[in-house]
């Protein structure tokens, strides 16, 4: 017996090893900047190796649990980008706290969990990745444990998270019992002969368990409280990282495991997802309208974005998945950018109420401009990234371009477009506050450099993807093809 090829999961290993080094390093140096920068270097190293793997076209199979293909490489890259941005915005945010070693180590373990989910090709690998991320993020939410809001948020998150994990695991175990396999591909093959009542319950449990991660209504209630209570970089991490991981898991279980099986009872699932998508996007947008705290507003807008992404599971074509992946990527930059700005402003003592953003354009012109770009992109205003990804995602609902018009999902797309229009209202309100209204003070704000780097990266990405989406779309296409064929 020979050893498996560890180079295939080298990016994950680099992140894990860095995570293990960090506590020791902190113990030795007691310097938060050092551990922060070492974490960033670890992520960059991992990213560089990943980039080489993408360019070199590496693919393969690690112990038949983890697969390396176009899909997993792209998504792994996405998660690394998320954690890179989160680390940049953490450097200043947590400088006055304690336990930096734990903070950075947990962030990195959570990330490696997400990277494993991206590669998983069976239920066990998937579950382990999910749990690694969940456990780490419970502790991260509780990071400022003396802050009552954070303690409350962490408790809620832990209790509901535990419940959801139990459900996911129960769903997985039923599925294994019926199909005698943990591999998604084998599950798809065996599903035709499984008892339908058991499948039903197993699917419902998995939807609920993973629905918690992706904040699907009615499993969304924790999200606004937790995003509001946690340190803002961690909110960013949950909203743009952990949520995407949930979607990756949903795609793997349902697109690869269930829907590919083409059994009638299973294809009916698409209607469930359509219903969930419709409820989720509408509730998210409508409730966001009346929020006064910017983090809560972004949380509800994030719920709405989850609704848009659920369209992928309803339509369930490779083209829809292309749109879904693209939207996940653009969402990282636009929502991540918005959260990072909130974190940066909280650091320089601007509050988290939307009112506190009045007159921001005079105080910090570049930050206000970036925030407007991110918000307009979230609303889907062309020619920004959000428009391109929504365009591809929504247009998948009426069939492949050039193919016959499919009326099945037109209602859903119509609803999504209406929802986009509604969302513009609350995004534009923030822009109006920043540019039109007078603030209480017009003192200039100086945002620390690491924040500025993160904001500018997001800004360049949002505008760049909007103007030249072509290379990214073809990457997403091959990723979608890798997953669904």
């Amino acid at each position: 017996m020979s050893l498996p090829d560890f180079t295939l999961i080298a990016p994950q290993l680099i992140v894990l090893v860095t995570a293990l080094i960090i506590p020791a390093l902190y113990f030795l140096t007691k310097n938060d900047k050092v551990v922060g920068l070492v974490s960033i270097s670890g992520v960059l190293l991992s990213g560089a190796y990943l980039a080489w793997m993408i360019i070199d076209g590496v693919s393969g199979d690690f112990l038949s649990v983890y697969a390396v293909d176009d899909f997993s490489l792209l998504l792994t890259g996405l998660f690394l980008t998320v954690v890179f941005l989160v680390l940049l915005s953490s450097l200043n945010t947590v400088e006055r706290d304690h336990h930096h070693g734990e903070y950075y180590a947990l962030l990195l373990t959570a990330t490696s969990g997400m990277m494993f989910v991206a590669c998983a090709q069976d239920l066990i690998g998937l579950f382990v990745g999910l749990e690694l991320t969940s456990m780490s993020s419970y502790a991260l939410v509780a990071f400022r444990k003396n802050d009552p809001r954070a303690a409350e948020a962490a408790t809620k998150y832990l209790v509901i998270g535990g419940l959801s994990t139990a459900m996911t695991l129960y769903g997985f175990s039923l599925l294994y019992g019926m199909t005698q396999s943990t591999m998604f591909v084998d599950i798809a093959a065996a599903i035709g002969s499984a008892p339908t009542a058991g499948l039903m319950i197993s699917m419902a449990l998995i939807i609920a368990g993973l629905g918690f991660k992706v904040t699907t209504v009615p499993f969304h209630m924790w999200a606004p409280d937790v995003y509001e209570g946690a340190v803002t970089p961690i909110s960013t991490f949950l909203a743009v990282g952990s949520k995407k991981m949930g979607f990756v898991a949903l795609f793997k279980v349902f697109l690869v495991g269930f829907i590919a099986a083409q059994a009638t009872v299973v294809t009916d699932m698409q209607y469930i997802f359509a219903a969930l998508a419709a409820i989720t996007m509408t509730l998210g947008n409508v409730v966001a309208l009346s929020q006064t705290n910017i983090k809560r507003m972004l949380a509800y807008s994030s719920i709405a974005q989850a609704g848009y992404l659920l369209i992928v599971l309803a339509v369930a074509t490779p083209y829809a998945l292309t749109g879904g992946i693209l939207h996940m990527i653009t969402h990282v930059f636009m929502k991540g950018g918005a959260f990072i700005i909130v974190a940066a402003l909280a650091y320089v003592a601007v509050g988290e109420r939307i009112d506190d953003y009045k007159g921001l354009a005079r105080r910090a012109p570049l930050v206000a401009f970036s925030m407007s770009i991110f918000l307009f992109s979230l609303a889907g205003v062309p020619p920004l990234a959000g428009f391109v990804s929504k365009f591809v995602l929504f247009s998948s609902g009426v069939g492949e371009p050039g193919a016959a018009l499919s009326g099945e999902w037109v209602w859903l797309i119509f609803l999504a477009v209406i929802n986009s229009a509604i969302s513009l209202y609350y995004y534009a309100r923030v822009v109006k506050y920043m540019y039109v209204d007078e603030g209480e003070t017009s003192e200039r704000i100086k945002v620390p450099v690491p924040f500025m780097i993160a904001i500018l990266i997001c800004l360049v990405a949002v505008i760049g993807i909007g103007l030249f989406p072509e290379p990214l779309i073809s990457l997403c296409e091959s990723a979608a093809a890798a997953l669904m064929n």
Partner: protein, 678 residues
């Protein structure tokens, strides 16, 4: 060298101005105003040169030049490029020309706005960029992008005085809410337009004008899909060109600076909708129902908006209603043209020589651009001098502001349709084209067009009345309250554009005698179906117009409107109050209240949308933490709170999760049952 190879520079030049002024405008004189003027003027010159090449046939129209923007799976390519034909050229020339003049005028008008001038010139430059980009886009998606930028700029510019309004806090709020209204209402149209794009992309696998207007491709597409796409696209027109029932934002948009109103009404924004209708006509004409709908919306808007202008006392609002009404005319003309073509296509007769409504609609669009820009700039000059928009406080300004009053009179004569002024020619053509359909023997549709014709005639009368009313109330009669402290004629940077525009307003109609109709054609079905151009000589055109008895009816109605306004507001021997019980009659109030449309929208939002949002929020808040928030805040100890949370509302969350699972199971079962899977 051909200038058309540099046509892409036309929108790029104002874009450069936008960037330069945005970053360095505060360091240049007039907040970057001169840069904006130079950019607009260069764009105009280039547009004119490109226009010459297209119209003279040096370059075959349409000139298409695309680069691939993004390629979607199998063979679907979205391009970014140029599509320049006679219609684009027309739009390019008058948009850039009028914008140049408005920018020059702004130097005087905005002179005392200080630091805010930079913002103004930045935004108008972007506005012009978007409009020029819109009319030379080579496909619907690219056009949509510019279309949205136009919407964004209008929002910014209408809300220009959203803070620190020269007239105080209240006016600021009005400006901000008008801007929001314009953005949201036009956005409803945009949603429809975007849906239309989806339908077309799906049906054709492309959004390029070249392939969408190819008869072979059109024939391959299901007619009902095409009709659906056309109607959705027209929904965008209804929003942008403020047609009924999405018209209500335009009067409110008067809260912006007057120069912005002139831009929106004459050169940009609302003309984009008419342009889109004209551009998409090859798709619309596949269905008689669609074109009939277009004509009805246009005809009704023309009439409906004119009624509201009759008794308004605000000089800018009267002009706003007149814009609505005139846009209705253009849409009506295009609808009539479309109907003629649709009917003949349905009958399999592609030998129909022309549908003059197309010429009429586009011709009126150009003439209207000139005289409406002039009217707004004239009104701006008056407001600048007297400091009010209320016409009751004006009057007798003829002597104090001679240049403004004479140029305004020319514009009034033009819009009222007095012979030989520009409005006369195009309005007459519109009426004729509508009558043409009514006489065409199309059954019930002919009856509808007959009604539209009568409405259009009545509108012509109303137009003459309210415009002369405006002129006499402002410049004629006794001096009003505000006129007394008028400090004379406006500065030269404001009067020169007025004089130039009055030349165009007076004379642009004569273009019809020099082959305008032939220039503005489009070929359809391999040249067998030529719309617009009918190769008539000057004499034939004149015969066509002046041997038509209805032309005299419309002239007589216009003169009658003028005469009544003259007696009421100049001689003042007819007391207007007699006819409306001195402002107490219900009809008078109905018009003042804009048919209760704003109230209706507000009620809809307040009674329906807002409570719905509140209710959902309440449920969420209450279920989540409404009851506990108060308790939680009062408790400071962490452990105590943990206990509270554990016994308190996390249970609610958990209950929801479990309830959700049950719900999903029930749903799965139901769907399985309904589709027979179980």
């Amino acid at each position: 060298m051909l200038f058309i190879d540099y046509a892409w520079l036309i929108p790029i030049i104002p874009l450069a101005a936008f960037l330069i002024i945005g970053f360095f405008g505060h360091k240049t004189p007039e907040g970057g105003g001169y840069i904006a003027i130079i950019a607009a003027a260069v764009s105009f010159v280039l547009s004119a040169l490109v226009g010459y090449e297209i119209l003279s046939g040096t370059v075959a129209a349409p000139y298409v030049n695309d680069i691939v923007w993004l390629e979607m799976s199998p063979g679907v390519v979205l391009n970014f490029g140029l599509y320049i034909d006679n219609l684009s050229v027309l739009m390019l020339i008058f948009s850039s020309l009028i914008s140049t003049l408005i920018f020059i005028y702004s130097i005087g008008y905005m002179h005392d706005q200080g630091e805010r001038k930079r913002r103004y010139y930045t935004e108008v430059s972007l506005f012009l960029t978007a409009m020029l980009g819109l009319v030379i886009s080579s496909n619907f998606l690219e056009m949509f992008i510019f279309w949205e930028i136009v919407g964004l700029c209008s929002y910014l510019l209408i809300g220009f005085w959203g803070f620190k309004h020269p007239k105080g806090e209240k006016a600021s709020i009005a400006a901000a809410s008008a801007a929001k209204k314009a953005f949201l209402v036009t956005r409803m149209g945009d949603v429809s337009l975007l849906a239309g794009l989806f339908v077309l992309l799906n049906a054709f696998g492309s959004l390029d004008f070249v392939s969408l207007f190819d008869p072979a491709n059109i024939a391959a597409v299901d007619n009902s899909t095409l009709a659906l796409g056309s109607l959705l696209i027209f929904g965008g027109v209804i929003g942008k060109s403020a047609q009924f029932p999405l018209h209500d934002w335009l009067p409110d948009a008067m809260e912006g600076p007057t120069t912005v109103s002139a831009l929106i009404h004459a050169a940009t924004m609302v003309k984009a909708g008419v342009y889109l209708t004209a551009r998409s006509l090859p798709l619309f004409v596949q269905s008689t129902d669609v074109t009939l709908f277009v004509a009805v919306i246009g005809g009704f808007t023309a009439f409906y908006a004119a009624t509201m202008a009759l008794n308004n006392m605000n000089i800018k609002r009267v002009l706003a209603y007149s814009t609505l009404s005139q846009l209705g005319y253009m849409v009506l003309a295009l609808g009539a043209a479309g109907y003629m073509m649709a009917a003949s296509l349905a009958a399999g007769d592609v030998e129909v020589d022309h549908a003059m409504g197309y010429t009429a609609g586009t011709f009126h669009m150009m003439n209207h651009a000139f005289f409406k820009a002039l009217l707004f700039l004239g009104a701006g000059s008056v407001i600048h001098a007297v400091g009010t928009e209320d016409m009751r406080q004006m009057g007798g300004l003829r002597k104090r502001m001679s240049i403004t009053s004479i140029t305004m009179l020319i514009a009034t004569l033009a819009i009222a349709g007095i012979p030989l002024f520009s409005g006369f020619w195009s309005k007459d053509l519109i009426l004729e084209s509508v009558l043409h359909v009514a006489e065409g023997g199309h059954g019930a549709a002919s009856a509808v067009f007959l009604i539209l014709f009568v409405l259009a005639l009545v509108t012509a009368f109303m137009t003459a009345f309210y415009m002369f009313r405006l002129w006499y109330m402002t410049f004629g009669g006794e001096e009003g309250e505000a006129s007394k402290h008028c400090h004379g004629e406006s500065p030269r940077s404001m009067t020169y554009p007025l004089v130039i525009l009055s030349g165009f307003a007076a004379l642009s109609g004569f273009l019809i005698l020099f082959g305008f109709a032939d220039a503005l054609t489009f070929n359809f079905v391999d040249g067998a179906f030529v719309v617009g151009g009918h190769g008539l000589s000057m004499i034939e055109v004149l015969e066509d117009i002046f041997l038509n008895p209805f032309a005299y009816v419309s002239i007589a109605l216009a003169v009658l409107g003028f005469y009544i306004a003259y007696r009421m507001y100049e001689v003042r021997d007819i007391e207007p109050g007699r006819y409306n019980q001195y402002g107490e009659s219900s009809l008078y109030k109905l018009l003042q209240k804009r048919y209760y449309f704003p109230e209706f929208y507000n009620a809809l939002a307040l009674k329906l949308a807002y409570p719905a949002a509140m209710a959902v929020e309440q449920v969420d808040r209450k279920a989540v933490d409404g009851t506990v928030d108060g308790i939680a805040n009062s408790i400071t100890g962490g452990s105590q709170m943990l206990r509270r949370i554990q016994t308190g509302f996390v249970q609610t969350y958990a209950a929801f999760v479990v309830g959700g699972v049950l719900l999903v199971i029930v749903l799965i079962y139901l769907i399985g049952y309904l589709t027979g899977g179980l």
